[in-house]
Amino acid sequence: MQSFLTALERTVEAILFVASEPVSTAELTETTGSSTASVEAALSSLRCHYEAERHGLTLLALAGGWQMVTSSDLEEVLLRFRDVAGSNRIRLSKAALETLAVIAYNQPVTRSEIEEIRGVRSDRVVETLLGHGLVRVAGRKKGTGTPLLYRTTGRFMELFGLDSIAALPSREELEDELANASETTDGVSAFSAEREGE
């Protein structure tokens, strides 16, 4: 067996790597400009190479074509990686960030107020935010049902580089760009009108 990949093999490898779904042989021949037979040979040789050299990757023949996947015996460690990556880099879904935004700008605020603004149930996202230590329960609202009130935490301020809640960007700060854009356009139309008039 050859010790290195052919030009076609490495091209097929790169295509399968970037592909989001299984790739058909037809598509591989079209992209590479090689014959079906060569592409099929390259696929099978690539798979043999992965196996012989004990790569962590392999090729699967699926209904739609070929797909690059990790070796099945690595499942456990990959699940562990997901946990590790998930806990190391805290990333928030749009729903979570949106909820955090509602709490930050309206604190102290009850869950039903959050839900009223967002228009969707928010119990689980609030749990997530509590779990990350980004929001905390800050007492109960007086009145019927005395619901819990939520506030952001010191950790939130630290992570977002804020000295105080009042330091949250105002609408003007984030959106004066749009206002400027329309100003420029107005100025422009006056300008071009003038030029046309010349």
Partner: protein, 245 residues
């Protein structure tokens, strides 16, 4: 994901000046306003894709140069104005240019890096799904809030995420509650300063929503706790009068 750097245009007026100097068309120490204007004007007329933005930036540069001249010509400036260099570029522009140049170079380096990096592709499939935000992204946080608010205020229809349309009424104001109470307290103070005495009815009458009503009551309670006002009824079922102390 693939990347592309748009080239061909200028990054700004300082970029234009640098380009002019480097092409030896002019010397920076002897930049004359009319020279810059005619050279840049020529460039703009030769470039077919001149945008209005570029024109505006050019006008702003020309204005800066002229302003420099005006300053130099003012009689009370201590630097004597010699007739032969009355057309010279203002000092601050030269300083601005030499401060700017390393960044212009850096932008070039960045462009090269960007292009070089774009030849490598990472996996596309894996990062599909809902957009996720790095924790600490204040911009994303803030933008989400203001958009949410606009959607509610505009009574927008449910969007791709399936939000339902509902009335804006009753949704808290977009400022922390403490601030709202403080604002209302100040309004009441101002009113009392002006009139000395108001009825509770007057204070509560123009409120559009329950939460604003609650806010107003909280403000009154806080002011009375601070000893700034007093509320009383002259007789049973009479109006409640609020007076400043």
């Amino acid at each position: 994901m693939s990347y592309e750097v748009v080239t061909g245009s200028f990054a700004g007026p300082l970029d234009v000046l640098c380009a002019l100097v480097e092409s030896r068309s002019i010397e920076v120490s002897t930049i004359r306003v009319w020279e810059v204007i005619s050279l840049y004007g020529k460039y703009l007329s030769e470039t077919e894709r001149t945008t209005i933005k570029e024109l505006a930036e050019f006008l702003s540069l020309a204005a800066r140069l002229l302003l420099g001249k005006v300053h130099a010509l003012l009689p009370d400036r201590e630097a004597a104005v010699f007739p032969e260099d009355e057309d010279d570029v203002p000092e601050d522009l030269i300083r601005a240019l030499s401060r700017y140049r390393p960044y212009r170079k850096a932008a070039e380096v960045f462009g090269e890096r960007f292009r070089a990096r774009s030849a490598f592709f990472s996996r596309l499939g894996a990062d599909e799904g809902p957009p996720i935000y790095d924790l600490g992204d204040l911009y994303a946080l803030s933008r989400l809030w203001w958009r949410l608010l606009d959607r509610k205020r505009g009574g927008a229809q449910g969007d791709e995420e399936g939000y339902e349309d509902f009335a804006w009424e009753g949704v808290p104001m977009a400022v922390p509650e403490e601030t709202q109470v403080e604002t209302r307290m100040q309004e009441i103070r101002d009113l009392l300063d002006e009139r000395g005495e108001v009825t509770l009815e007057e204070l509560l009458a123009p409120v559009p929503t329950k939460s604003v009503l609650v806010l107003c009551l909280l403000a009154l309670l806080e002011l009375s706790r601070l000893g700034e006002l007093r509320m009383f009824q002259k007789e049973l079922f009479d109006h409640v009068t609020v007076v400043a102390l």
